[in-house]
Amino acid sequence: MTGYLIRVGGHLDDHWSARLDGFAITRQADGTSTLCGPVRDQAELHGVLAGLRDIGATLVELRRLDADP
């Protein structure tokens, strides 16, 4: 499992978490949201990204988290 952090524009409600593979949503003071979660492989990550695409969220940042928290 590899952890990823995804940042999108706007404050996403928690109810999107289930749609986005269980990624945990944290709303930031700068008006963005970060989504953090583990994925098994790249295909799973792309599934989450496609989910964000399909709800019209604006992708701001994508980062791999080096060590498991």
């Binding site: 404050h11 289930a18 399909d54």
Partner: protein
């Protein structure tokens, strides 16, 4: 799909639209029709609406209304067959004559059919007068290279008056940069689609009938960043607040000051303004891809589904009508996503129950392929598997391989293992992956598994649930259940057929025969597919063991069963095997007749079959042996023009093999050897008995070239040693080895006596005589004659050759003698000089053929175009449409088509663009 054709309709908006002439105008550049219009932007940016407006604005223009073929794609279109059938259907909505051939070609299926289907569709498009637009909406759902490949090919060869328009959330892999560089791409992207303040005002105040002030409009435009979906929701929210500037002020200020995701904020706002019942209706039905009153009622437990949908439609709330009668709707995808997320958060677990209810509703109406995704979404894998079994015949008939594989992957192994039909399907998948152990494991599961006569959902722990219909009474079996039960009855025979194919792939001939024989016992008289396959394996096994009479009889049965099963392609393709059996029996005439008949039958089909090329190659091989080089070459060329799409992978090496024979006949032995290398690279073992191994053929060529060390290397590498008892499959190797020994003796007269070789040849000649292996008998007799001659016994040599020649008078064999080169020519001369011997005349004939080798002919291609065809070709290179060209030439469109077809054939191309390209290459333009 519950609403036939709903995805082929240009969506008709009910509300007034904001004019977006700044965008549609860009696509109307009169100077050029772009080949591709790409509308690429995230969800909710109004891509579909813009395309609808663009088509509408073109229709309002100067009488130049474009024909619009609309296709809204969904996941099923990632399957190549599904995509092509929907594409053709979309084109046919605009012109019923178009795409008829393409549809027929598609129905026939087979490898490589896509190219032919597309070429046929392109030619029909070319014949359409006036501009045509093909719209592919929601292209981002396509994730298979096969479909991207077809769309790339479509773009490449699109006739000049046709435009492809693609709406997508993701840039498609279609060589966009090349199109951009050639100025053939018109792009509308998110930045272009964003509503300006003026457009936002037009939308909110004019189209939605609100009365917001300029500051509020600007605030909403800024907060939503011109996002169409956001503006629409904002407008709906403002309406719940009275719709005027005063009432909406609080909402606008609150929204503008919030960081919340636009969709979340606005959806909450809109849902809050709705009556409880309608809000619950939206959440409950959000899991549905398509909505209609009774289906909604099955989910909500109420009876007001129809009224609720009508209310949503009137209020422009989230729904899109799918049919003229406004019975079926779907939610705007973006809103459906948001509603589903809300449903999951508010009522965890309810989505599963709703999905089950939807699966039951569809299943009760025998719409199994619609029901399966809901059952899977509900996590009810046992129920999904039961429905899958009922859907199987339809999935096979419609060649929905993609759905088939996807659902098979989605089901757990233990659920599949309990259902013989699905377990056999998994075995078939393992067979295509060449995982033989996997095949057997799944077949074991299929045989051990219980028949599915238990209660629905019972053994898989899905819990007690069944459709309302199933609960109240025990209905008689439906058509689908009867079809499934028929498949179950036929399954034991098919399982044995699969086991036979595993045995054959393992080279286990007795095992193959045992399994295939058992399959024939188990198969019912009308079970043509199992009968055909089993007889095929038995025929191949008989052939491999040298029982040619049984082989021909049994394989003939297989062909008849395949034909009865409606499988024309395979039935005609099997001719390739049957004809080789006849060749082994020395009946070149019968082989020729079978090929010619099969080719005539293939020609009656629209477009080439997946085996038409193989038939040409097979006939070329027979003609080459008969000494009819020119005819053989014509058929080889015909096969090459048809391309790989008209040849099965297991037959692809044959073209090079026959070409090698032809080149050898013309004395170009080096080129023949090169062809054999290519044949070997393409050879796929395991499909047919390897009775004429390519390495041995190459060794014979090496011997003919005097390259004995190379031939010795063959014998060493392939461990071919002299065998006293040569069985039928080893005979070709043994006769090659005997040739090598004779050639060595000729080259080195002291290289050992040939007594042992001749003795073995005696054995082979009589074995072949007894078993009726006529071609092998001729082969062995020829080698023995050469052996006698090399040993100095000319009298015995002449005697052997004389009887072989006598027989060849009947069979027509020619290359078998002449390929032996100089020693044989001398020996033929000896026979020809002695008129009292049988075969003297035949010897003279063969010598005549040998002294007049057919001139090698190389057709540069295109040189044979007539004046009229050149005239048509020049017009094809222009921007004129088919009907325009026809008018200029004063001929009908049909006559023009005949001309273009001839041109395409002569230039070996399938489409107009390719013809022009080729003609330029050949300097004809």
């Amino acid at each position: 799909m519950a609403v036939p054709g709903s995805r082929l309709r240009v969506p008709v908006p009910r509300r007034r639209l904001v004019a977006r002439s700044r965008l549609t105008g860009r696509l109307l550049d009169p100077a050029s029709t772009p080949r591709l219009v790409l509308v690429a932007a995230p969800a909710g940016f109004g891509k579909t609406t813009l395309l609808v407006q663009w088509l509408g604005s073109r229709a309002d223009g100067a009488g130049d209304a474009p024909r619009a073929a609309w296709l809204s794609l969904d996941e099923g279109d990632a399957d190549l067959h599904g995509f092509l059938s929907h594409l053709i259907a979309a084109v046919r909505t605009t012109e019923t004559d178009a795409g008829a051939d393409a549809l027929a070609l598609l129905g026939r299926g087979g490898d490589g059919a896509a190219d032919q289907v597309l070429a046929s569709l392109l030619n029909d498009l070319d014949a359409l007068a006036g501009p045509t637009v093909i719209v592919l909406d929601d292209y981002h759902v396509i994730d298979t290279d096969a479909v991207h490949g077809v769309v790339t090919a479509l773009l490449e060869d699109l006739p000049p008056q046709v435009t492809l328009a693609i709406a997508t959330r993701m840039d498609p892999p279609l060589s966009l940069s090349r199109l951009r560089a050639r100025g053939e791409l018109a792009e509308i992207r998110a930045a272009d689609l964003r509503f300006t303040v003026e457009e936002a005002a037009g939308f909110l105040n004019d189209a939605l009938g609100l009365a917001l002030d300029a500051g509020q409009v600007a605030a909403l435009e800024a907060r939503t960043e011109g996002w169409a979906a956001g503006l629409q929701l904002a407008g709906l929210a403002a309406r719940t607040h009275g719709g005027d500037a005063q009432g909406a002020e609080g909402f606008v200020r609150g929204f503008a000051g919030s960081h919340r995701f636009v969709l979340d904020y606005l959806l909450d706002e809109v849902l809050r303004g709705l009556p409880d019942e309608l809000r619950d209706f939206l959440l409950a039905t959000s899991i549905l891809g398509e909505l209609t009153g009774p289906l909604c009622d099955a989910l909500t437990g109420r009876a007001d589904g129809r009224e609720a949908l009508e209310a949503l439609d009137r209020a422009n709330l989230f729904v899109v009508a799918l049919d003229e009668g406004r019975q079926w709707f779907r939610y705007h995808r973006l809103f459906a996503e948001a509603l589903r997320a809300q449903l999951g958060a508010r009522e965890p677990g309810r989505a599963a129950a709703l999905n089950r209810a939807a699966a039951d509703w569809y299943a009760a109406r025998a719409l199994f392929t619609d029901a399966i995704p809901y059952a899977l979404a509900a996590g009810a894998t046992g129920r999904a598997a039961d429905l899958f079994e009922l859907a199987l015949p339809g999935l096979r008939r419609n060649r929905q391989d993609h759905s088939l594989r996807r659902w098979l992957r989605a089901l757990p192994d233990d659920v599949i293992g309990r259902r013989p039909l699905l377990a056999t399907l998994r075995a078939w998948g393992s067979l295509s992956d060449a995982d033989l152990d996997g095949v057997e494991a799944w077949l074991d599961a299929a045989q051990a598994g219980p028949a599915t006569d238990g209660p629905v959902g019972g053994p898989d722990g899905d819990g007690a649930f069944a459709g309302p219909d199933a609960e109240t009474w025990n209905p008689p079996p439906t058509d689908a259940e009867r079809a499934r039960d028929r498949e179950l009855r036929e399954l034991p025979a098919m399982i044995e057929v699969y086991r036979a194919s595993v045995a054959q792939a393992r080279g286990d001939v007795p095992g193959t025969v045992a399994r295939a024989g058992r399959a024939l016992e188990l198969a019912g008289p009308a079970d043509h597919l199992a009968r055909g396959a089993a007889a095929g394996y038995l025929g191949l096994a008989a052939w491999a063991s040298g029982d040619l009479v049984t082989a021909v009889d049994t394989f003939g049965d297989a062909v008849r069963s395949l034909r009865a099963a409606g499988n024309v392609t395979d039935a005609l393709g099997a001719t390739v095997v049957l004809a080789q059996m006849w060749v082994a029996r020395g009946r070149l005439d019968e082989a020729r007749r079978l090929y010619e008949r099969a080719l005539a039958a293939a020609e009656r089909q629209p477009g080439p079959l997946a085996t038409t090329g193989d038939l040409h190659v097979g006939l070329a091989g027979v003609l080459c042996e008969l000494g009819e080089d020119e005819a053989a070459e014509r058929h080889l060329r015909a096969a090459r023009e048809l391309g790989a799409a008209a040849s099965l992978p297991e037959n692809r090496h044959r073209w090079y093999l026959v070409m090698a024979g032809l080149l050898r006949a013309r004395g170009d032995v080096d080129a023949a050897a090169a062809m054999l290398d290519r044949a070997e690279a393409l050879y796929l073992p395991g499909f047919f008995p390897d009775l004429q191994p390519i390495p041995a053929v190459r060794a014979r060529v090496a011997i003919a070239r005097g390259r004995l060390p190379e031939a010795l290397g063959w014998a060493r590498d392939h461990r071919v040693v002299a065998d006293v008892e040569a069985t039928f499959p080893r005979l070709y190797d043994q006769l090659t080895l005997a040739r090598l020994q004779v050639a060595r003796r000729r080259a080195h007269p002291g290289a050992g006596a040939l007594g042992a070789v001749i003795e073995r040849l005696d054995g082979m000649v009589s074995a072949a005589e007894r078993a009726g292996w006529v071609t092998a008998w001729l082969d062995a007799s020829v080698v023995r004659a050469l052996a006698y001659r090399a040993a100095g016994d000319t009298e015995a040599a002449v005697g052997d050759l004389s009887s072989a020649l006598g027989r060849s008078t009947v069979t027509g064999h020619c290359r078998l003698f002449l390929d032996e080169g100089v020693p044989m020519l001398e020996l033929l001369g000896d026979v020809a000089r002695r008129p009292e011997l049988a075969g003297g005349e035949r010897a003279a004939e063969l010598l005549a053929i040998a002294s007049h080798p057919a001139a090698a002919s190389g057709d540069a291609g295109g040189s044979a175009l007539s004046e009229r065809e050149l005239e048509v070709l020049r017009l094809l290179a222009s921007e004129s449409t088919g009907p325009e060209i026809a008018r200029r030439l004063f001929v009908s469109v049909n006559t023009l088509r005949t001309h273009t077809k001839h041109i395409f054939t002569k230039l070996e191309v399938n489409t107009r663009r390719a013809a022009v390209r080729r003609a330029r290459e050949l300097g004809l333009l």
